[in-house]
Symmetry: C2
Subunit: 249 residues, 2 copies
């Protein structure tokens, strides 16, 4: 029986340097490895589906772990949740084939970005949404979002910080929905590069504010010039929602 377990992880990224281990900083991966070491009394490595930056949240980060000895997935979930701090939780644990690789096997990733569009800042949304006080044209934002659908070279929209074999990505879904003052952007693609979603969000907000038109957005993407795109939107609004695999896992 395979000892490889697929973990679904939710976290509030506010107090972390991000998913990935970094020396002398609190990472989500580091906290989970520390909890596993407590359970198994030996070092256990966790492999994530990809990094998330400091302050970025997750509802469905996926990671794999090869257990040093047999342990029922449901018991592992309970033991981890008892040991992890309140801002990290394992929401599912299931046995998968030994060769499961959460990064390489992923067919797509789904992110959401939340923003609050009203004059006053919100104490209850402070950690969870970007506060945009300027009036926004919601239809213009949806129209800009549609530009990103399909296969594009996203060089102009990414920051350096991860090695990429290619800068081409296929975007399956890119759209905004709205719940009164809260605007939620949902995007699904094969994968994302560093700051790519947050830079797309700034461009769409600029479209909503009327300072960037669709023609210009198309031109910026086509330029492959990072200097032409705006700065990424704040991390606090971004959520890794889901990582999708084939039927096997």
């Amino acid at each position: 029986m395979s000892r490889t377990i697929k973990l679904t992880i939710e976290y509030d990224g506010t107090d972390y340097c991000g998913w990935q281990l970094q020396s002398n900083q609190q990472s989500v991966q580091g906290r989970i490895e520390a909890a596993l070491a407590q359970i198994f009394q030996t070092a256990v490595r966790v492999h994530g589906s990809g990094r998330t930056d400091a302050g970025v949240h997750a509802r469905g980060q996926i990671a794999s772990v090869v257990l040093p000895r047999e342990f029922a997935p449901d018991d592992l979930k309970r033991a981890l949740n008892a040991l992890l701090p309140y801002d990290i939780a394992v929401t599912a644990a299931e046995r998968v084939p030994e060769n499961f690789n959460p990064r390489r096997d992923a067919l797509s990733r789904v992110y959401e970005y939340r923003l609050l569009n009203r004059l006053a800042r919100s104490p209850l949304e402070h950690r969870y949404a970007w506060h945009v006080p300027a009036p926004l044209d919601f239809a213009a934002m949806r129209s800009a979002a549609a530009i990103f659908v399909g296969e594009h070279d996203f060089t102009a929209l990414r920051s350096l910080g991860s090695d990429e074999r290619t800068t081409i990505r296929r975007v399956f879904v890119s759209d905004w929905r709205r719940q009164e003052e809260i605007f939620i952007y949902r995007v699904e693609a094969t994968s994302f590069m560093r700051h790519m979603v947050r830079t797309m969000v700034t461009m769409m907000v600029d479209a909503g504010r009327g300072v960037l038109d669709n023609e210009r957005i198309v031109a910026i993407v086509a330029s492959r010039d990072r200097a032409l795109a705006p700065a990424p939107a704040p991390a606090a609004g971004l959520y890794l929602i889901d990582v999708r695999y084939g039927n096997r896992s």
Copy 2:
């Protein structure tokens, strides 16, 4: 021109002892009075529509303040939001008649209570919802909620801690809605006593878990005996949503 200003206040109650001033503790009222003292260089008293307990949140707490000198309401809002910590914000400020009294003039208060009904705890809902892992019968909870509508003596459901001339309250709205794993209870009444909403929530959750039936809920209310009702639900799920006044303010 009246110098009485009606403030609408949002706060994340997690790190406060509640709305009301208490010696040696951080209260929302205390923070607002400190900000007003900074602006006006003199002590300024704030009067709230009512208390909220430690950990309880507000989207629409109402307070009044009589300014020591003329100050435009919009400027006051901006100045306060610049001085207040991230977990307190003024979302509206408007001039009202001098005799406006946010507690006495209120016709009704609206509260909401959020709970998360799933097995795993949620890092993103940790401060904002009660985690109930047991399966809940949503229809049974709505049916129990309907019991509270109308005029009742709520002695059995309140904790001591505030002076009441009467323990009779008229409930206008009492119902649950649902967004997947999140259950939201909305209740509107003339006013509420301490722990009243949270005790109602525990009773309805007990109904949802199948351990308390409607007949028993009716009997507990009728008993006027605090010892028969269960403990109040956790503060983190409770929100003061709105305080309603007549047309004058």
